[in-house]
């Protein structure tokens, strides 16, 4: 019964059906399944399914976005059931994310932000066309441990590097993990600017942040997560 419920949940999430997914969450909670297990074995599994479909070309951007939306609702529901201490204990880290200066592409960055949020990170999304200074200011303000910068434009890539320079100049390079991603951002470029992490997809970004907060030290080496290394 438990397995069946969780499977149902993962399927509704993969289909992007928030309404049905929330009903199953209610049922699962009533059946006494621990909230985090629901999240992990039902919710996260649902996102894995849609990720696989996306990689295989069976799902496209709209399907990915609605699955992410459904997952967001499920996470909110589950967190609302946990008391504050429990939620805090389950928070993995705090991320400040934004699209680099000059760049208004936001679809990919929004997915990264949503997936981080549903995976236990507190996410502060600065939106598009974010000035370099803003990243650091916000990180200081909210006590973040990760700064994530996305760009799809070659012409905005220099701003990615400027974030590192600013952190260094302020003597704060060892305070934050700095991760980068998006179309033209290669691992070579990430390495050269001394970022802490690079990921290819939004799912890779989640894995990357988890690894960094678990084992990493800011400003030491580049962590790479790449689910499709052939591309």
């Amino acid at each position: 019964m438990k397995e069946a419920l969780l499977e149902k949940l993962s399927n509704f999430i993969a289909e992007g059906d928030a309404e049905e997914a929330l009903k199953v969450v209610e049922e699962a909670l009533a059946a006494g399944i621990p909230p985090l297990e629901i999240l992990d074995k039902g919710g996260t599994r649902g996102m894995d399914i849609v990720n696989e479909r996306y990689d295989n070309g069976e799902a496209f951007l709209p399907e990915l976005v609605v699955a992410g939306d459904a997952m967001t609702e499920v996470v909110q529901k589950i967190f609302s059931q946990m008391d504050e201490a429990e939620t805090k204990a389950n928070k993995i880290g705090t991320v400040v994310i934004g699209q680099a200066e000059g760049d208004v592409h936001d679809i990919g960055k929004n997915i990264v932000a949503a997936l981080l949020a549903v995976n236990g990170f507190e996410v502060h999304d600065l939106g598009i066309d974010v000035p370099v200074k803003k990243f650091v200011e916000k990180a200081e303000e909210v006590g973040a441990n990760i700064i994530a910068c996305s760009t799809l434009l070659t012409t905005s890539m220099p701003y990615l590097e400027d974030v590192v320079h600013l952190l260094t100049d302020m003597g704060k390079r060892d305070k934050y993990f700095y991760i980068v991603g998006g179309g033209p951002v290669t691992t070579g470029f990430a390495e050269q600017m001394k970022a802490d992490g690079w990921g290819r997809t939004a799912f890779d970004a989640v894995e990357l942040c988890k690894r960094l907060v678990k084992n990493g030290t800011p400003g030491t080496k580049l962590e790479i997560v790449d689910s499709q290394p052939s591309n």
Binding site: F60, L61, P62, I128, D129, T154, T155
Partner: protein, 332 residues
């Protein structure tokens, strides 16, 4: 045959005596005359100068008048952010503040449309039958995204009726823009819809496929030719692109030329592409670009093929690289 005839012949799905070549000079025209993109895109005079220089430098068979997908959105009330080396970007989505029912189809007086039309009239007069001019218009999907913001994407699944209404409106905007160009003597209309690479073949058929029809029908009434420009990895919708009512489609390096050529030829569709922009024309070496162009030509040669960059040329695009392609086209 004049350059223009060479291009128009390919657009009629014939094989002209040499490969036709259409460099998509947009803000790169500003670079060619030493101006910033923002100043350029607001001035009929500068656009006129930029396109004239591009014609001298790149010996093209056709040239876009302007490459700026934000013109319609701006005319409809979206807020833009300007840049020195890129076209402007939409930062305020008008449908967040105003309902769709209150939006009116733009007229020749709105936003920068008068600037574009003035440039159009001068260029049509200047070039006569030497080269073809392309009137570029923002496609319904991309315009919808400008008007609505990225929530349009989830609404395609969650609220398809609302999205269908937006498409309906945007396709009328496209048609109105096309008419402004056509009645000034522009013979080729290119509908530019980069967002189409991001959806499934099913969604393409449901929302996008027929949204071009009002424009394509109008183009035919004027005896013009129409193209659809896509951008990004649209491989899975290539069969759908072949069903679109335009005379053909243009695509970037994310689509394999051999595959696109094969599909296009099955349906007697024109296909244009796909010189790589970033790794090729912008940052590549001359030899790389000759090779890229040669590869495209080898695969594409035959009826209905037009050699073109993958998309809008970057502002700083290397003139040397471009000229290497020009030489290949005219001598090779």
């Amino acid at each position: 045959m004049t350059n223009k005839e060479i291009l128009l012949s390919a657009l009629r799905y014939e094989e002209p005596p040499r490969v036709p070549w259409v460099p998509y000079v947009g803000v790169h025209g500003a670079y060619l005359i030493g101006k910033d993109a923002d100043e350029y895109l607001k001035s009929a005079d500068l656009i006129y100068q930029g396109v004239c220089i591009a014609k001298e430098e790149y010996n093209p068979d056709g040239l876009p008048i302007v490459f700026d997908l934000q013109i319609e959105a701006e005319a409809l009330g979206c807020e833009l952010k300007w840049a020195k080396d890129n076209p402007p970007s939409v930062i305020g989505h008008v449908l967040n503040d105003v309902p769709l029912s209150e939006l009116k189809i733009p007229t020749e007086k709105d936003g920068r449309i008068p600037v574009v039309m003035e440039a159009t009239e001068r260029l049509v007069k200047e070039f006569k039958d030497e080269i073809a001019l392309l009137g570029l218009i923002c496609g319904p999907f991309t315009l919808g995204l400008h008007l609505m913001g990225s929530k349009m994407i989830s609404k395609m699944v969650k609220n398809p009726d609302e999205v269908a209404e937006v498409f309906e409106f945007c396709s009328q905007v496209c048609k109105a823009m096309a008419e402004m160009y056509l009645k000034r003597g522009v013979e080729v209309i290119a509908i530019v819809d980069p967002m189409t690479s991001q959806i499934s073949p099913q969604m393409f058929d449901k929302f996008v496929l027929n949204s071009y029809n009002p424009t394509t029908e109008l183009v035919r009434q004027y005896n013009g030719r129409s193209l659809l420009f896509v951008c990004g990895d649209a491989t899975r919708v290539v069969p759908n692109l072949c069903k679109v009512d335009t005379d053909g489609f243009a695509f970037d390096e994310n689509i394999d030329m051999a595959y696109a050529a094969e599909e296009a030829r099955k349906h007697r569709k024109v296909f244009c592409g796909n010189l790589p922009l970033t790794v090729g024309l912008l940052f590549g070496e001359v030899e790389d670009n000759i090779k890229f162009a040669q590869d495209c030509i080898n695969i594409g040669r035959g009826p209905g093929f037009v050699l073109a960059p993958g998309c809008d040329l970057p502002y700083h695009c290397s003139v040397e690289n471009m000229k290497a392609v020009v030489n290949l086209v005219h001598q090779g």
